[in-house]
Symmetry: D2
C-alpha cells in the first residue's frame, strides 16, 4: 500500500497520546523552549511526490541528523581508505558521547554517528575545504533545493557554550593523533551543522538521494555513487539511532538517523524517505512519538528492509 | 540479475586466493582439523531453486549460526515481553564472549547472538521444553526437510571440555537472577546446538523462512509470523556478525549470521537465502573468504537491503 | 599513650550512636540474623597483654578477614615467584566481586584480598595440601592457641548456596588458565574459610604475628619471615579494605582487613593488633562503627604507620 | 642501623647495573635528552643531617612529585569537606592519565596523584590564589630554604605543547561541573609545577615536613597539621606510585611519590626523607633503579612503615 495523507494523519492521531511520556532535550535553552506538542510527518517518494501531515512544514533543529549529511559531503572528498582509517563502521554499544571506548580504541571512533565520529568528520572537512561551514550549508541547500535553509546562530552559540564534553572528545582524539586542526574552530563548525533548521518536508527531500541510489530526486544530480549510497544506509541501519539502533531496526526496519531536536529521517531504499518530528525523546535520545509513528507507518504500508 | 551457477563458480574462483590469509578456529581439535581449502556456496530461492558451487554439499559445524535457530524456536514458545526482558536487542560493541558489559548491565545480555544471549535463550528452552536438545534437533530437521541432520557429539563434547568461559557467563547471569536452570545441562544443550552439522545447501534451505515472511519455502509451514521474521532479520542485520556487523552491512548489505566453523548464512528478504563456507576466519571471527564471496555476489546480482 | 580498658570503653560509647546508620550484610540469612547492636573491641600487645571492651569475647563470622590467613598459609607453601605470577599486588580500584578487570587482565586478579584473588589462593592451597580445609583450620587454631575455633557449617553452606558470582569468577580464571582444580571443591573450601567464627580477642591474638615480625606472640613460633610479615602488612595497607583502602589509610593509618561480618583487624607493627566488631557496614562493605572506633583509637593513643 | 654515605654509595653501585633495562620518558624532548646514566640519592634526617651519594646535587625535573606539594598547598587553603568532594582518596587501579574511570565516576578523580586529580587541585589553587604559579614557587622555595628553585620554562612549554590528553581530562571534568576556571591557564600552571627543577638533596629537604609531623625540619615552621601530615603520607602510600603503589609498598614499605623525570621521594615518618634519581622508568612509569635503591636501603637500614 502507498502512504496517503489520510494514513499519515491517522498515525499522528494514534501517536499523539505518547506526548507527555518523553522528555524534551534541555541541555541548551534553545532546544528546551520548543513546544512538546509539535508533531509532524512527511514522505517524499522517488517520484517526487510529497505526502505530509501535522507540523510538517515547520522548521526545527535537525541536530545529529546533520551527521549523515556531513558524512556524505566527506565521502565526496575523501577516498574510502583515507576515511575509514580515522573512523570505524561498527555500532558502539555505548552512549553517544562516551570517551571510554574512544580511549580504549586509541582515539578511533566506532562510527561517524556518535559524537566522536562526527567530530572527526568535521575535522576532515576542515582539512579539505577552505570554508567548510559555508560549503556544508551550500551542500544542504542544494540537496534540499532551498536557498533559505540556515544555521540557527542562537542554537549554535548555545551549543558552543556547553561544549566541554565534545572538547574533551576532540582533545582526546588529538592526543592519539586523530585530529588535524585546532579544536575550537572544528567544534564551532560541528555545532553549526547541528543547528541547521529544516522542516520534515525539507528533510525528506534533502535525503532523497539515499532512497534513490545516490541521485537526488529533486535535482537529478548524482550526489554519491550507488555503492556509497548503500554504504551510508548500512551505517545508518547499524549505527544511526544512538544506542537504540537495534530496537529501531526491530520495530521500524529502515535505515534512519535521529537528532535530539526530535527529528528522525528514515529511508526506504528504492521508494521513499520519511521524516518525522516530535520533540520528546525516549531514554536513548530518540523521538518517542516519532519512532512510534515510523513503526506504525512501516506496518501500515508494509515497508521494511527486512 | 539472477544468481547462476556460473556466477557462483566465478566468485569462488575470485575469493579462493584469500585462503591462507585467515585463521581456522583452533580452540577445539574438531574444528582445527578441518581443511582450510574447503570453499562452498549455495543459494536457495523462494521459488525453491538451489544454485550451488564448490563444496556446497559437504557438512560442517554450523556453530553460532545455530543461535538464530534457537532464537526462532524460543520466539515460538515465549511472548515478546517474557523474552526481551531477559535479553536485549542492541549490538554489544564488544567481543562475543565478554563478561564486562554483562556485569555492567546486571546480567542482561545485549542481544541473542553474543554467547551470553544465546545461553539465556538455551536456558529459556530448557525451562519450557521437556527434552530441549531433542526438540531443537527435530525443529532443525523439519526446517531443512532432512531427517539426517545430526549433532556432532565429538564437537559437542570437545566444546564442553572448553566451556569455562561460557560457564563463567552463565554463572554471572545466574548471580543476577537471569538464569533459571542448572548451568551444566544448559551449557551442554547450547554446545550441542553449536555442533549441528549441515552443508551450505542444507543451511540455505533451513533458513528459507526468513526470506519468505516466516514461511518455510520447503514445507510451506509458517514457522514464525511475518513480523517475527522481520524482527529476526533486523537482529541479524545489527548483531549477527559479532563485532563485525557494521562492516558486513557496509560491504554485503544483508542480514546474516556467521559461525566459527566458517559458515555464514545471509538473507535477501523476499527472494533468497545464501550460505557460504570457508573455514578461515578474519579477526572478528567471521569467514574471510565467505564474507568476500557474499560481497561479490551482492554486487554481481545487485541485491542488498539498502 | 597506651591503650587502656577505659579508653576502649569510652571509644565504644562514642561510636555506639553510629549504629543504625549502616546496613548489616543480608545476602545470606546467617549473617542477616546477627544483632546490629553488637559492638566489641580487643587489643593484643606484643607483650601478650589483652585489653578489651564490649562484646569482645563473642564469636562472629570473620568472613574476608580469613583471606589474610589463607594468604599467610599459602606464602608458607609457595615461592614468591610461583605465587605472584598468579595474583597481583595492586589495589583494584573496583568492587571486590567485579569480573571486569579480571577479564581485561587475562584472569590474573589484582590482589589476594578481592574475591578473585582469594579464590586463586584457595586454588593454590588445594593444589599443595592433601586436606586443605582441615589444614587451614589447624593453622588458625595454632595461631590463636585455641582448639575450639570452628567453621560455622550453616554459614558455609549458606554461602555455597549463593555462590554463583564467585563461581563465575573461578570459571573465568579457569578459562584463562589461572585455576588448577575443580571449581566447586575450591569454592567450598573458600566459603569454609570465610565461615570461621572468632571473637575480637581471638582475632587480635591470631594476627599477633603481623605486629611481631612474623613471630606469633602467643606460641613464639615464627609463622612467616619478617620480610613476609612486612609484605602482608603492605598488601593489607593498600588492598585490605575493599575499595575503601585509601579512606581507611587516611583516617586510621594502619594495615587492616575487614569482613562483611562486621569485623576488622588492624595492625600496629612492632606494638599490637586491634580487632573490632560491629555488624553494620558502610557503602564500601566495611564496618561503619568499627572503622570509626579504630580512627578514634589511633588518634587517642597516637599510633599510625604514617 | 643509620644510613651512612658508605651504605648509600654501595647501594648505588648495586643498582647501577639496572641502567639500560628501563626507558627514559620521551614524550617531550626536554626529558628525552637527559642522560640515562644519572644516579643519585640523598637522605635528610629529622635531625637536619644530609647523607648523599652519586648525582645527589644535580637538578632534574621533579614532574609528578610536585603533585604532593600542590596538594599540601591546597590543604592549607581549603577545608577538608571543600576539597574531598572534588577529588577522592582511593587508588585508581588504572593508568595515571585514563579518562575511563573519570567518566564513569562523573568527573570526580580517584585521588590527587593521578593527572585528573592533580589538575583539579591546580584548579582549586587557581580559584583561591591571585597568582597561583608564583605562589606555588614561593611555597616550594620556602620548604626547601632555597631561593634558587625555578620552573624550567623549556620543560613547561614543551609539556604545554603536548597537553591534548590533559586538556581532554580537564574538559571532561568541566563537563561534569568539577572545574571552575578556564582550562588552558590551569593546565599551564599544572605544567609549570611539573617543571620544577630540584636535586635529590633539595627534594629530601623540601619534604622533611612529612617525616616530621607537618613541621619543616629546616625552618621549624608548621607547614600542615600533624594530622594532615599523616593524611598526606597515607595518600602517598596508597596512591603515590601510579599503578605500582602496591608493588612499592610491598618492596619498599614507605609512603612515596614518583615522577617521570626519574625522581622518587620516600618518607620514613618520624625519622627521615629519602630522595633518589635515575631517569629510566619501569612499565608503571616509576624509576627502575630508584625503586630498587629504595628497596635495598629499606632493607639495609631496617626501616619500613610495616
Amino acid at each position: 500500500m502507498k502512504p496517503t495523507q489520510k494514513i499519515l494523519t491517522t498515525i499522528l492521531d494514534e501517536v499523539r497520546p505518547l506526548i507527555g511520556q518523553g522528555k524534551v532535550a534541555n541541555y541548551i535553552p534553545a532546544l528546551a523552549e520548543v513546544s512538546n506538542q509539535k508533531l509532524g510527518i512527511a514522505v517524499f517518494t522517488n517520484e517526487g511526490e510529497v505526502i505530509k501531515a501535522g507540523d510538517a512544514e515547520e522548521g526545527f533543529s535537525i541536530q545529529s541528523i546533520s551527521k549523515a549529511l556531513s558524512l556524505t559531503l566527506a565521502m565526496r572528498l575523501y577516498e574510502p581508505e583515507e576515511m575509514w582509517c580515522r573512523v570505524g563502521k561498527e555500532p558502539s554499544g555505548q552512549a553517544f558521547n562516551s570517551l571510554i571506548q574512544l580511549e580504549m580504541e586509541q582515539g578511533i571512533p566506532r562510527n561517524p554517528f556518535i559524537n566522536a565520529g562526527a567530530i572527526v568528520v568535521a575535522d576532515m572537512l576542515q582539512s579539505r575545504l577552505s570554508a567548510p561551514r559555508q560549503r556544508l550549508l551550500e551542500f544542504v541547500r542544494q540537496l534540499c533545493s532551498n536557498e533559505h535553509v540556515i544555521y540557527d546562530k542562537v542554537v549554535a552559540n548555545s551549543e558552543m557554550q556547553h561544549s566541554d564534553r565534545n572538547a574533551a572528545i576532540a582533545y582526546l582524539m588529538r592526543s592519539f593523533g586523530n585530529f588535524e586542526n585546532d579544536v575550537l574552530p572544528v567544534l564551532n563548525n560541528y555545532f553549526h551543522a547541528c543547528s541547521i533548521t529544516m522542516s520534515c518536508v525539507e528533510l525528506a527531500k534533502t535525503f532523497s538521494y539515499l532512497a534513490n541510489k545516490g541521485r537526488s530526486v529533486i535535482s537529478g544530480e548524482q550526489i554519491i555513487t550507488p555503492t556509497q549510497s548503500k554504504q551510508v544506509n548500512a551505517l545508518l541501519a547499524t549505527c544511526g539511532l544512538y544506542d537504540g539502533a537495534g530496537e529501531f531496526a526491530y520495530r521500524v526496519g529502515m535505515p534512519g538517523k535521529s537528532g535530539v531536536g526530535g527529528g528522525i529521517i528514515a529511508i526506504v531504499p528504492g521508494e521513499m524517505t520519511i521524516a518525522v518530528w516530535s520533540p520528546e525523546l525516549d531514554k536513548s535520545g530518540n523521538s518517542l512519538a516519532g519512532t512510534k509513528a515510523l513503526e506504525l507507518l512501516a506496518k501500515r504500508i508494509g515497508r521494511s528492509i527486512f
